[in-house]
């Protein structure tokens, strides 16, 4: 991004500080999205100063910074939007988690997505934990009883474990399916919104 040049040293410092705050606030985004936000806010600053030249550099800069507002306050919804877009275009779990955490306040459907995601982590956890607690994790079947997961000895007393160590590949496979399902559902939701 091309920076605006100020004659006044103090104005220049205030401007650079503001740009730095925008950069800090948008850290979670891809370089491209970050640059887009920076360029757009930079353009607001530049155009405002150009259009109101008679007021002087410093007072224009202070005015436009006030008009845009604190990056920490105005950018979160923009960031949440862009992050969601990014998450639906990749299968990177970090993007998905970040997008969900940013959007959780945006509605019930994200809560549902988060629960699905939590389920996914439970599955992955069970697959690993099975190695350490083989007797307590698995698919247990007793008379009129059926359990999947991690249970105490007393709970599974009288039941039979069905999968043995096959539990690990089965659960991993389920996790992968669930993961793709979540991402596709998010993508559909995003498209539906458009």
């Amino acid at each position: 991004m091309r920076l605006i040049e100020f004659d006044n040293k103090n104005a220049n410092q205030i401007y650079l500080d503001y740009i730095e705050r925008v950069k800090r606030t948008t850290k979670a985004l891809s370089d491209k999205d970050r640059e887009d936000i920076l360029m757009e806010l930079n353009s607001y600053i530049y155009e405002y100063i150009q259009e109101n030249k008679e007021n002087g550099e410093m007072s224009n800069l202070l005015a436009i910074i006030k008009r845009i507002g604190a990056p920490e306050e105005i950018l979160p919804p923009v960031i949440a939007n862009k992050k969601m877009d990014q998450a639906t275009h990749t299968f990177n779990p970090m993007h998905v988690i970040k997008a969900l955490s940013l959007n959780i306040s945006n509605g019930l459907s994200y809560v549902a997505f988060s629960i699905l995601y939590l389920l996914l982590f439970c599955f992955s956890f069970l697959a690993i934990a099975k190695i350490f607690f083989p007797g307590n994790i698995g698919v247990f079947k007793g008379e009129n009883r059926f359990y999947i997961g991690l249970f105490s000895d007393s709970t599974i007393e009288g039941t039979q474990e069905l999968l043995g160590f096959w539990f690990i590949p089965v659960v991993l496979l389920l996790s992968i399916c669930l993961y793709f399902l979540i991402t596709f559902l998010m993508r559909i939701r995003q498209r539906f919104k458009k």
Partner: protein, 111 residues
């Protein structure tokens, strides 16, 4: 007259109609941020701060109502021009219809 109530109500109405005003402006012409603010101030006498417009434009873009493109400028600081998409146009038509019928009803009851 309760001035405080009136001011609150006015700012609510302005806030609620901002997207409608914005889409109407973009109907005929592509515009960049400062230009939009300037036009809203001139044509509708509402002063919109950049910090209000920017998130709104962003949301309208996510919702597919507007599209944007960067246009290089001699200054080296490009402008982002916004245009109405086909979805935006169709949505605006429906919004106008709703607005007109609301206007009619309000005129009827406030006679």
């Amino acid at each position: 007259m309760n001035e405080e109530f009136l001011h609150k109500w006015q700012s609510q109405v302005k806030k609620g109609t901002l997207a409608f005003i914005l889409l109407n402006l973009l109907k005929d012409k592509e515009m960049y941020g400062y230009e939009i603010i300037d036009q809203i101030s001139r044509q509708v006498a509402i002063d919109i701060a950049e910090g209000t417009l920017y998130p709104l434009l962003n949301r309208l873009k996510t919702d597919g109502l507007v599209d944007s493109k960067w246009v290089e400028q001699q200054s080296g600081i490009p402008r982002k021009y916004y245009t109405l998409t086909l979805t935006g146009k169709a949505t605006l038509d429906e919004m106008s219809e709703f607005w007109n019928s609301l206007d009619k009803s309000i005129k009827k009851i406030s006679k």
